[in-house]
Amino acid sequence: MTAENRTPLLLLAALVVVLVIAPVFPQWQFLATLALAKGMTVLGLLLLLRTGLVSFGQGLYYCLGAYAAGTVGLHWGVTDVFVLLLVAAAVSAVVAVLLGFLLAGYRGIFFAMLSLAFSMILYGLLVKVSALGSTDGFNVAPPTFFGREIAGKDSQYGMFALTCVIVFLTTLAMHRYFQTPLGRLSPAIRDNEIRVEYLGASVRGAVHVKYVIAGVLAGIGGVLTAMTVGHIDPEMAYWTTSGEFVFVAILSGTGNVAAPFVGAFIFELIRTYAYQYSPNTWQMALGAAMLLTILFLPAGLWSLYERLRKV
């Protein structure tokens, strides 16, 4: 069985293992859920990276998804988890389709910095909207699952399990996507856009679609984070948040659709402890780690895993 066909099974195995083990480690559940939620955003970055693009503005959709769901909850009291997910995905999709018309024509630094600029626009807007709490943001009520609250004694595990399942389904879908003709266009576009055009495909159209997918993934990541943490604020759209996602993407590597989640977990782990022990060198550690990764392990941690497996 090839590596490509092995992944779905690995994912399923991981899902089962993780769901079974989790109750034994209740203190890890919050961290793990957060890591999975952020990993969704990074998964979107993986798609863009495979297409040869780096977005420094996924925070836009991450924040948008969270705020869309949060607002719907705040003003209309909606707490059903599926509705919230749908709202987040829909709002992200609409905005991504619109912005994609401009962004799909750019590459490299322009694409990176323009996406950054757009996320800062959202930040600038949210900070001035007092109805949404300005810089403080606001709290998000615990989600309900078919009427039953996920909160309560089993709240952590409930949220964790739900996130796991969502992540599993999404990752599986992305894996399948990369095996379709449109998915296969990603590395092709990255390597040689001219060739793609001369075979009769629209590079711009394909990039637009992928940008929208990445946006939706980030939006879902955002709403999951909001539900887990219980609070949202404009900081989610600040470019440094997007920068963190980029860091995790580089650290994880693009070798496998599961890589972003492994990377996100390691990141959250380090962040929690590094911040605790030395808050003034936390960013320095990040920067240094990123430099080391770029210089010595440019394909990310996943490539290290692959290398070790072959030994």
Binding site: V54, L102, G105, Y106, G108, I109, F110, A112, M113, L114, L116, A117, F118, M120, I121, Y123, G124, L125, K128, I194, W239, T240, G243, V246, I250, N280, T281, W282, Q283, M284, L286, G287, A288, M290, L291, I294, L295
Partner: protein, 298 residues
């Protein structure tokens, strides 16, 4: 009418500040093809260094009027130390690689520098307001402006003129323009591109630091003050066209006036207006107002 004049004057002042902080960024990109995300940190370093040196100078009881020179000196020192350190110590190993990779490297440098600042200066704010108030104020069209702001405009014009003169009339400057125009050809013609890079990056760092140094007397110098700067500088530079000096000037002017208008008439959309202008310019001129020529690929 006087309201409109106020908008224009405020706009020009803000534009001057924008030009100083953006010109280093566009120069670095034009010559080296690197968008330096650490630009904001260099700006912050300039501010901190200026606050420290000028603060020390004034605390020692020396002539306060000389503090302006100290500000500039601080910026120069930051540029001359940080510039070569970053360029020789890190960037030069990455030349020729993908521009996005270099962007990420400068992003990593930004992260590191932010904490370096905290380690050296701590997290408490610094204040160095003497240079700001020292020159007093001036009345113009019924409004009062600190003379310091006029100084800012003057510095901007001087910097712009000096840079333009260097680029157009000195030998080094013309070589720099050649490299901006076509790197490979310049190398093939024997231009020491490596040295150009060192000089350019150092100049860019010094200019960023100058922006910070001149800002220090007007704000409280705190960690994270450079984080917003990179986005603003990028917007200015992109409107004008990456790598273009007149572009940076025009971009700064446009953004400055637009922002001033927003602040006066509709403050909620201040940030939004800047990026809206940027987006609009890009829709009609995808590479900015003074863009370069397209190269044939096949």
């Amino acid at each position: 009418m006087s309201h409109l004049l106020a908008v224009v004057v405020d706009g020009v002042i803000y534009s001057s500040w924008l030009f100083i902080i953006a010109v280093g960024l566009t120069l670095t990109y034009g010559v080296m093809n690197i968008l330096n995300m650490a630009h904001g940190s260099l700006y912050a370093l300039g501010a901190y260094a200026a606050a420290s040196f000028a603060g020390y100078w004034i605390a020692q009881g020396h002539a306060p009027m000389a503090s302006y020179g100290i500000l500039v000196l601080a910026a120069a020192i930051v540029g001359v130390i940080a510039g070569p350190l970053i360029e020789r110590g890190l960037l030069r190993f990455m030349y020729g690689r993908d521009e996005i990779l270099l962007l990420l490297v400068t992003y990593a440098v930004f992260l590191i520098l932010e904490d370096v600042i905290k380690l050296i200066w701590g997290v408490d704010p610094y204040f160095i307001s003497e240079p700001y108030g020292l020159l007093g104020s001036v009345d113009f069209a019924g409004l009062t402006y600190p003379v310091y702001n006029v100084l800012l405009v003057a510095v901007c014009l001087i910097v712009g003129a000096v840079l333009a003169w260097i680029l157009r009339y000195t030998r080094q400057g013309k070589l720099l323009l050649a490299v901006i125009h076509d790197r490979e050809m310049s190398q093939a013609m024997g231009i020491d591109v490596g040295r150009m890079y060192l000089v350019t990056f150092t100049a860019g760092a010094a200019l960023a630091a100058l922006g910070g140094a001149l800002t220090a007397p007007t704000v409280s110098v705190v960690p994270g003050m450079g984080v917003e700067v990179i986005v603003l500088a990028f917007a200015v530079v992109v409107i004008g066209g990456l790598g273009s000096l007149p572009g940076a000037a025009l971009g700064a002017l446009i953004v400055g006036l637009v922002r001033s208008a927003a602040v006066h008439y509709m403050p909620e959309v201040e940030l939004f207006s800047i990026y809206l202008v940027m987006a609009l310019v890009l829709v009609f001129r995808p590479k900015g107002l003074f863009a370069g020529a397209e190269v044939r690929k096949i």
